[in-house]
Symmetry: C2
Subunit: 480 residues, 2 copies
């Protein structure tokens, strides 16, 4: 008899991918400006750290928001024993209101439909458990967030089928691509139960336009399958076009079946609080609300955190300021990174949202294969000492794309990263005979056939390893 379960002994958690290997590399040699200036810079982590000063300022001004202050401790008992899976009413109200604000107050959210979960990770799994049986499938436009595989399939036994999108039209999701994926599933006798959209997209950093959303809604309605919209990056939009929620599209299409529509939300990206594990399921289907709420017992939000979030998000002045300032800072950071890259001829997909760029390194590949992609990625992480995430881990159909995160570090670290890239490119131009037989292809004019190894020797001082920091353990990010 097997001692453990099939789930425990399979690889469904998906940690054995380059996406997570990069974190391990970072973790064993993390960059620090003084302690380890030649360490790996972590650009594989979609964290929003740019506006914490605003939060800290608010916290100091609002001692009652905590049950652990003299002002707030009278509520300690009531909050500590509260385990109603509906959540604190003021929490649900504040989250619903916040979601409305992020969507420009063009839609309304009913607090009674706000269901808690352990981050978006828990929200995705809960929806999968509610909507599909083992063996059933959800369609997901690729490239998509690597954690989806763990979140949606590992313990539920469902499967994700990619909807193949192409760089030729900026990875747009077309009706034809949807139909192709659907038909392929049918041909394999796989029951498709829904379509999962991620808007704004991780890793693309783009928002879905009105046509794509409307077409996706029509497609799922025609097939009578669910439409799950993961909108966890909705407040990271820093430039036009504006974010359009599926909630707006639903409003414009009154005849569609609302029972099929579900939104996943979280405060991990928009506010930058991944540690607080605030995930939200907003379903228009009463049965799903009821069932998901029962399941939320497995991953309720700590009432201490609910209480804090309720206070914070009820402060309209703070929320308005945070949203505009955070978007502004993300936009500035995005500009620094994307311009810095383009100055040395590295392009990236035009984007206006997210905490990352989708960088195009196709011309640096030895050949148009994923083997070449992973080879290039290893050189980047081992020699340039920057952890970026290869497109293969996002199920991208074309090799050569990499996600580069830009909001989980300070300005100085971004400049160090850009300097490393610049040096690497300059070095490249002066040393095209490096002994590596690297075949150039694609539209690039830039000659980048260099010895990463030699660059490394130039740049690297002897390592001064920082002690292993469990604060940055690589394997463990619940959602990035």
């Amino acid at each position: 008899m097997e001692l453990l379960s099939k789930i425990a002994t399979n690889d469904g958690h998906g940690e054995n991918s380059a996406f997570f290997d990069g974190w391990k590399a970072y973790d064993s040699d993390p960059y620090h400006p003084t302690n380890n200036p030649n360490g790996v810079i972590q650009m594989g982590l979609a964290e929003n750290q740019l506006s914490f000063d605003l939060v800290q300022e608010w916290v100091k001004k609002n001692p009652k928001a905590s049950i652990c202050t003299s002002d707030g401790s009278n509520g300690f008992k009531d909050i500590a024993i509260f385990q109603d899976y509906h959540g604190l009413p003021e929490f649900r109200n504040a989250v619903a209101r916040f979601m409305e604000k992020v969507r420009g107050n063009r839609v309304r959210f009913d607090p009674a439909r706000i269901v808690m979960s352990g981050g978006a990770t828990g929200a995705q799994e809960t929806l999968a458990f509610c909507l599909a049986d083992p063996g059933d499938a959800l369609l997901v436009p690729a490239p998509y967030y690597p954690g989806n595989d763990r979140d949606l399939t590992w313990r539920t036994g469902i499967q994700l089928l990619p909807v193949i999108c192409h760089s030729s039209n900026d990875f747009k999701i077309t009706r034809q691509a949807l139909e192709t994926a659907y038909k392929k599933a049918q041909d394999s006798n796989i029951k498709v139960k829904g379509l999962l959209l991620n808007n704004p997209s991780n890793p693309l950093g783009t928002v879905l336009d009105r046509d794509t959303l409307t077409e996706s809604l029509k497609f799922t309605n025609d097939k009578k399958i669910h439409l799950i919209c993961d909108e966890i990056y909705s407040a990271t939009v820093f430039a036009r076009p504006n974010f359009i929620s599926i909630a707006e599209i639903l409003q414009e299409n009154a005849d569609c079946d609302r029972d099929l529509i579900h939104i996943v939300y979280s405060l991990s990206k928009d506010l930058g609080f991944p540690g607080f594990r605030v995930g939200i399921i907003y379903s228009y289907n009463d049965s799903v609300v009821n069932c998901a709420r029962k399941m939320s017992s497995f991953g309720l939000v700590s009432t201490q955190t609910q209480h804090l979030i309720a206070s914070m998000l009820s402060d309209d002045v703070f929320v308005d300021r945070f949203l505009s300032e955070s978007a502004k800072r993300l936009g500035q950071r995005h500009k620094i990174l994307s311009r810095g890259l383009s100055q040395v001829g590295i392009g990236s997909l035009k984007s206006n949202a997210g905490l990352y760029c989708w960088m195009d390194l196709r011309r640096l590949l030895k050949g148009p294969t994923f083997e070449s992609e992973i080879e290039l990625w290893r050189m980047i992480i081992n020699d340039v000492k920057i952890n970026v995430s290869p497109g293969a881990s996002f199920h991208c159909s074309e090799p050569g794309w990499f996600r580069v995160c830009f909001a989980n570090m300070d300005d100085e670290t971004v400049m160090v990263a850009l300097n490393r890239i610049h040096k690497f490119v300059i070095q490249t131009k002066g040393s095209s005979s490096d002994g590596i037989n690297r075949k150039q292809y694609g539209r690039s004019k830039l000659e980048i056939s260099l010895s990463f190894r030699r660059l490394d020797e130039i740049m690297m001082a002897p390592h001064k390893m920082s002690p292993h920091s469990p604060m940055s353990s690589p394997l463990v990010r619940a959602r990035t």
Copy 2:
């Protein structure tokens, strides 16, 4: 095509039982000393509310324990972005140390084996996912906590098979009972993957003795199946005999297979913080630790809460005082309730732990059936207006037992509850001809053939309903 999953449309969440119905009854008419003095008193909720003054005092003295005070807010960012599934090192250390203290420092716990989960609810489910495949079974001595069915079976597809225990030997778990349950499963071609013990027991309020624990360990080792020990009530032991953890037994039996041993823990009962959702899996099996840790992404403890708990449990003076004072107060409360019941001839199982008594009302049943039990329960809740939990919801094999919780209310409310019971018994003695043909049986000398309805008419003033309070919504307790 079915719109939702089988899990969503079955009744596996188990909320359709009398256990939860009682909460609904309470919720629609909750007792309040002044606003609704004739409302239902909630004695169906295993909450530990007796020592919150100590916690509140500590919180005020330790402003740095919170990231939401002026003293602590410098740590806000680091805590808010921390999402390592290993947990804050100081949190794991403090929890391991606390678990040792609760076990009289007779065992050591390795912080590296502390795995977080969303309460004991999440811990149980995670272990089920790790240890068993759909269709496999765990043996569970009955009576057992009703939530186990939801926690362990709903989404995992495994099943729980009761080990039948009897009042004749105080519901002791015997080797014979274990073998009988095991054989019955084998005869049905069901694969048994483990035994789940609850020590101290909910609902019995008793601790497992050394012989029972040793015998259970031998049984599971002989069969090469897992032994899961749910020790979430370990610090509620208020009288001799002392609590013995499976960790101690393991120490005494060095030859047994440690890979089969797993402990479930939580701070919901021992500290009284169910809202904080701190569940712990402590496994002696490395693979289970690793797998459970990956699964903990679905229900991590909020870092805000980890930070607070780490500070609080690292304070040895506070912890020692809390543990001794909490046990003392629980013992006093238990004495008040059990004596009050025995004064009117109502017996209960001799117990020394937990937040409840296991009350023996067999002699009040019309007959020795579960129909009679539920009938009596309805009368108690509708007429005496006390919500207790019937034995059937705990899978008890003998009708007539009820769990009465005593630590989720203040002294005055206990007295009101006891007064209602006293009045009911006095009323009984004076009106034995009530038109109800209630057959008396069992060992009781007391004549209790009364009209609950008439009692109700005497006691009840016109209701003044308190507004629906979501703070006490009935369906929703993650764990009681």
